[in-house]
Symmetry: C2
Amino acid sequence: MKEMNKQSLKLRIISAARDVLLSDGYRNLSLRKIARSIGVSATSIYLHFDSKDDLVHTLIEEAIERLNRALEICVVNKESPVKKLEALAQTYVSFALKHPREYQVIYLVSSDEMTRYPKEKFRKARKGYGLVLEVLKEGINSGKMEEEKPNIAAYTFWAQLHGVMSVVLSERLDRRIDQNEFIEEAINHIISGYITHDSLKMENIIDN
Amino acid sequence: MKEMNKQSLKLRIISAARDVLLSDGYRNLSLRKIARSIGVSATSIYLHFDSKDDLVHTLIEEAIERLNRALEICVVNKESPVKKLEALAQTYVSFALKHPREYQVIYLVSSDEMTRYPKEKFRKARKGYGLVLEVLKEGINSGKMEEEKPNIAAYTFWAQLHGVMSVVLSERLDRRIDQNEFIEEAINHIISGYITHDSLKMENIIDN
DNA sequence: ACTTACAACTTAACGGTGTTAACTGCTACC
DNA sequence: GGTAGCAGTTAACACCGTTAAGTTGTAAGT
């Protein structure tokens, strides 16, 4: 045997952990299962991570990075800040729908009482926030949006989107309400909370 | 001893479970700990609940009822639908801040992959939704709000509020951003997503 | 070449978890 | 008085995260 896996054990652990997470869900994510899946002992994980929480934090960091990457890409080639804001919302929603378990792990820290998400990883997490902030500033300059405190508004935009997807993914929506319709409606409301009424009308006239 | 506790064991279990939840958090909520705190064996819990999830669902139901009660009270004696909507948002936020663990347990089903929240309990959970819906309809009739689909809008309102509190409680907010300012700003954005631009201005003129 | 040192990894064990099965004691009815 | 059944128990299972101690292989030092 002796597969001589060149890939460092740390990377193999992270990869295996993500596999288990995606296939079995966070609740059934155990160190023993991760270790078994790559043929090492569970305690080997402690050679590279301080704790299970530490490993999960790495998973969270990874998920955030993937989400951020998608967000970064989506704004390029959009002509107006309003279109950019819409693209950000759409991309965020799509990511959550396409990778629900990966998305949900990002916000795990809250409902579980996990070890606080370390602040050095926090920094990376804020990149998506910076993206929203840029778009908002752009919108303010062009008169399409009006914000007294754009740096706070960028966070609220974020938070509102999360709430919508959280409700969808936890299947708390009334069965009589169509999921896609709900999401679309919610995005409209959120966006319209950031756009001046006039420019919203303008945008619609141009569109149709 | 034989304390002859008249209170049914089921109620004592629920009460003890809530105590443990509030003091130790969801993550450290174990059946053995609950049982120990009221001097019975852990397996006794299974005489009244199908599983730990079943017990937690009961806790969720309780928390939702308490939140709903607060929401019901807050809208009375508010003259305008806008004021009512603001009151709902404020009350929701206050509840989450005052009872963070109780609040977070409500949305536990999502991030943890818990047994699906049973639909008969779901019905009660929708009472708060009904409250928002009423206010929205009232606002539409009086011309202060405009919604094509109020029954969906009621959900989106809800979802956005949850997102905001979720971000606050998971301590994902930049330390440089003031928490209360963030919440206030977020509520303003959410509300303004439901109110006609004109009536928002009117409201402000009257206020100040 | 032989020892030493260290890194990478393992096994064994601790105290905890949810859950099931089998057992006990009590109380109410015939 | 016997018995059915309820309310609770103990014992056990298979799992969990985590720690301590042990093993193995390899590279360096002399």
